[in-house]
Symmetry: C2
Subunit: 373 residues, 2 copies
């Protein structure tokens, strides 16, 4: 496991401030990982990510295996060489995407057969195949291949998927050979605390350098999700990073850090940006709103990001209404900066032992429904 190390630098309550060393650089946790599905964060250049302080990007195995293909990426130096992002990468296993995007799925113990959502070609994803692809892509952190049942699946379906996820985790572990990657296991079990606990304990028995919590943010009520996190917190080992997959809003991230989570990814900041929705320190703001037509203020007057330092709400609204790509870029830079900056502030509050105070005040301001006025 050359080049890797995770250590806790500080704790405050259940919240943790850690340092995750990877072969491509240090990651301070809690961390938000911008989503670069096809090896690029939508509408944002690597340079802007670096400048805002993003340290680690997520890329999607499912998308990259289909286009441009994992062999091509490997041939061009893996994700780092191919994309030019020199910091750490994490790849998911493709499990979630194959269940949410692909057509004509056939699931059995071996894996999932499916048709590409791009051109209909047939493919197989299995623990072996996912790990083969992820080792070719060459991310610093790779994920075990898991089964993701729908959020409204009955308990027996979730139980079966959870048991299979454990068997697949073992096969993923056996298929993983690269010493310069960390392989994380994924805890499943829906909102059933006993299934979650069993899943976690089985993964712990296999042994992974880090643990992800999957199968959340799929429609469950927020209290149910928080019960899962609180239940898993004392079960998961203290000295290993915990990664909550696909979550979520700023409030979600804060409440998950309060329950011991270290790592996050979510498409929300970039997807919302393309739809004209901005996160601000006093709540969300839809730039399409006619009230911003002649508003000379920056999108978030308290924000030091490049967008807020250079454009007004009126100009950003104009670009959005005119269908200019620059609107998506400017809004994405702001939203990602907002997330990255919030994690920085959260981390600092943990180190200073005033996380609860910071959390209370930040949540209070985020709940301000003034729509930025």
């Amino acid at each position: 496991m050359s080049g890797f190390c995770f250590s806790l630098e500080a704790r405050d309550g259940r919240a943790r401030a850690g340092l995750l060393q990877t072969p491509h650089g240090m990651v301070e946790t809690p961390v938000f990982m911008p989503v670069g599905t096809a090896g690029a964060v939508k509408a944002v250049l690597h340079r802007d990510l670096r400048e805002m302080g993003a340290t680690i990007l997520l890329a999607n195995t499912y998308h990259l295996m289909l286009r441009p293909g994992d062999e091509l990426v490997a041939q061009l130096g893996g994700l780092h060489g191919f994309s030019g992002w020199s910091g750490p990468f994490l790849t998911d296993s493709g499990g979630y995407q194959v269940f949410s995007l692909a057509a004509l799925r056939q699931l059995d113990e071996e894996g999932v057969r499916f048709q590409s959502h791009i051109d209909g070609t047939p493919h197989l994803l299995s623990p072996q195949r996912s790990l083969e692809i992820q080792q070719r892509l060459g991310a610093d952190i790779v994920m075990a291949f898991d089964e993701c049942p729908p959020g409204d699946a009955p308990r027996e379906v979730v139980a079966e998927a959870t048991a299979r996820t454990t068997r697949w985790a073992r096969r993923s572990r056996e298929a993983h050979h690269r010493g310069d990657q960390w392989l994380f296991g994924i805890v499943q079990g829906g909102t059933h605390l006993d299934l979650r606990e069993a899943s976690a304990r089985e993964l712990l028995a296999i042994g992974f350098p880090g643990y992800a919590i999957g199968g959340l943010s799929v429609g469950e009520p927020k209290p149910a999700r928080e019960r899962v996190l609180s239940h898993l917190d004392p079960i998961l080992p203290d000295d290993r990073p915990r990664y909550l997959m696909g979550v979520g809003t700023p409030e979600d991230l804060i409440d998950a850090v309060a329950r011991g989570v270290d790592m996050f990814d979510c498409v929300l900041p970039t997807r919302n940006a393309r739809n004209g929705q901005l996160f601000t320190r006093t709540g969300r703001l839809s730039i399409r709103n006619a009230r911003f037509r002649d508003d000379p203020r920056p999108p978030d007057p308290e924000c030091p990001c490049p967008t807020c330092r250079s454009v007004s709400r009126a100009y950003l609204r104009h670009l959005h209404q005119a269908g200019e790509m620059g609107a998506a870029t400017l809004a994405s830079i702001h939203n990602l900066f907002f997330y990255v900056d919030m994690m920085r502030a959260m981390r600092q509050s943990i180190r200073l032992c005033r996380f609860e105070e910071w959390r209370r005040e930040t949540l209070r301001r985020l709940a301000d429904v003034s729509d930025g006025s």
Copy 2:
């Protein structure tokens, strides 16, 4: 005319190297002005324009009067305050766009009545109205309102449009009052040298601080365009800037500078970039081409632009094929850098009295049809 000055720094043959001082900064000529139709260059942030050395942007009166409206732009500090671009701006008069984009045009001596291509609302553009809008937008250089007949119009139609353009130029002159803007006249006359000459002499009699050559790049053969430029060169005053509107390819710009032109604008570098076509020092390159699938070289190996310093052809092709906006941004930055950098090199060659040598060598390399391989 406060804050304005144009002076020739060097000549080589008919080619000119000049300095154009504006209230928002110095422009070295020959210059290429990136097109920022709606007050923003498509897919490129102001910051990238500044870093590549772009000095002056063009914005379109027709688009801005329709959306967001000239009154709103004025209220927010004009184009500079509204867009945040602190360097010089030039606005066209809307004449060309109203003839190429708007529906249900009705032309008479007063001006052109038309329906917005966005929402069908009725509008009028006339010399008075165009100058009213342009003075509200507040660009450093504004243009007289002209009539642009189609490229294949018969001589009598061109003659009538040219005569009207002169009458409208006089009315534009009378409607222009801002001392911090320069108003340029526009020479029309199609490919008819006698009409061009008459148009130029009539505009000279009115007197403008700069002269544009309109109505070219509308389908005429390149030799016909070059005859017009060569014919106008000795007629237009030496000490005033000359602006060839809407032209063109790198070769076109070089051949126009050789005939005494100082200023250019064109959508070609940005529009082609969005379609995946890159200008390189050895000819054009279509990034969609399958041969670039695994090509690890930069788009243009000789190019020092941010795109060529950071991505491979294979990665750029992947982003383009995947429909990622980043492909348009990276390609637009490269193509605009290519244009801006070519003008820099051209200017330097004029100052060193080796323009003809530079021109011959550059045209020879551009004619290399190797498609970048």
